[in-house]
């Protein structure tokens, strides 16, 4: 193989454009959702600036608006975002030698599903410059979109706001459905989890369990069942 040129900042920015556009629309939906849940604009933006994760933020807002406990919040974030551990771990194999402790402390802050996916798909080693470009643009649009959504949430007509409340769920569906089509294990896990979550939403007594715990319980039971009944083949975790 030929010696590869080091990946540049510009290359990172270029690869970041589709991620950034996606984040803009989805975080717009998050901003609207947050304001509708009673979160002030500044707090919605601060959540996006400090968390940079869609599912965790939505769950977080749900817990805040229900005045849930701090332990519930910590546990929920832990379970929902646990997948990032695997991504971080996997990414350590891709980083070039210049990543010392300070760089690791900094860059790990912005590992998302999409940034992980793009950087894993890149051949060779990842440079600091490349990763900076790949993270900077999506980080910016994630916060900008949240601001615009939260701002618009205060001025847009009710009908438009309601409709835009669908955006974030649309994104979740777009993440779930394609692997669900191809992979029996994913299909089984999603069906189990959805069935459990419906039980918690409609069955008396179970209805009283608060939102964060429902997500944890459904997530753990369905993933354990999946891991037991449909253990993944080698390499599969890197493809999706």
């Amino acid at each position: 193989m030929n010696e590869q040129k080091d990946l540049s900042f510009a290359e990172g920015l270029k690869d970041a454009v589709p991620i950034a556009l996606g984040y803009l629309s989805v975080s717009f939906g998050f901003g609207i959702m947050a304001v509708q849940a009673g979160i002030p604009l500044w707090a919605a933006v601060l959540i996006s600036l400090s968390n940079v994760t869609s599912a965790g933020q939505v769950a977080g807002v749900t817990i805040i608006s229900a005045a849930g406990g701090y332990f519930e919040m910590a546990l929920t974030q832990f379970i929902i975002n646990l997948r990032y551990s695997l991504m971080s771990l996997s990414l350590t194999q891709k980083l070039d030698k210049t990543f010392k402790t300070p760089a690791r402390l900094g860059f790990s802050f912005c590992i998302t599903d999409e940034i992980f996916a793009v950087s894993s798909g890149k051949g060779g080693h990842i440079t600091k410059k490349y990763l900076s470009g790949l993270m900077a643009l999506p980080y910016f649009t994630w916060s900008l979109g949240t601001f615009l959504g939260a701002f618009a949430g205060e001025i847009l007509p009710e009908a438009v706001k309601n409709a835009l409340g669908m955006a974030i769920y649309g994104m979740f569906i777009a993440i779930i459905v394609p692997p669900l089509k191809k992979n029996k294990g994913v299909a089984a896990v999603v069906i189990t989890s959805v069935a459990l979550s419906c039980l918690f939403a409609y069955v008396p007594f179970l209805k009283n369990v608060s939102g964060g715990f429902v997500i944890i319980i459904c997530g753990i039971i369905a993933s354990l069942a999946g891991a037991l009944l449909f253990p993944i083949k080698e390499k599969e975790d890197e493809e999706t």
């Binding site: 965790g56 910590a74 997948r83 599903d113 089509k181 979550s197 997500i215």
Partner: protein, 105 residues
């Protein structure tokens, strides 16, 4: 809700999320070997997103009719491999149209 409470919530969220991302990158230098743990971690995002989406999505757009319409359109668009942005926007657009059309019948 007062500012201190909000900041505490956000601090907990951000702190936990950061530690999850940072610790493996800092501490572990080897790959996970256990197939069971890898499988579990592989399935977690789908399980979590599934539970967060259903049934919450059925009331996401105000009325049930509009929400259902948006949900169905999102699933169809996702089955056709629409990108995250396209699916999100189509779902919202469908819910918006439905919220105007449904009361007419």
């Amino acid at each position: 809700m007062n500012t201190t409470t909000l900041l505490l919530y956000i601090g907990v969220m951000a702190g936990v999320t950061y530690l999850i991302r940072m610790l493996p990158m800092l501490v572990f230098r080897k790959k996970i070997k256990s197939r069971f743990v890898k499988s579990f971690l592989f399935y977690v995002p789908y399980a979590v997103l599934g539970a967060m989406t259903i049934p919450a999505v059925f009331s996401a757009a105000g009325s049930m009719g509009a929400s259902l319409t948006g949900f169905v359109i999102a699933v169809v668009a996702a089955l056709l491999n629409g990108s995250l942005t396209v699916v999100a926007l189509l779902a919202s657009f469908a819910a918006y149209i439905a919220s105007w059309l449904i009361p007419l019948f």
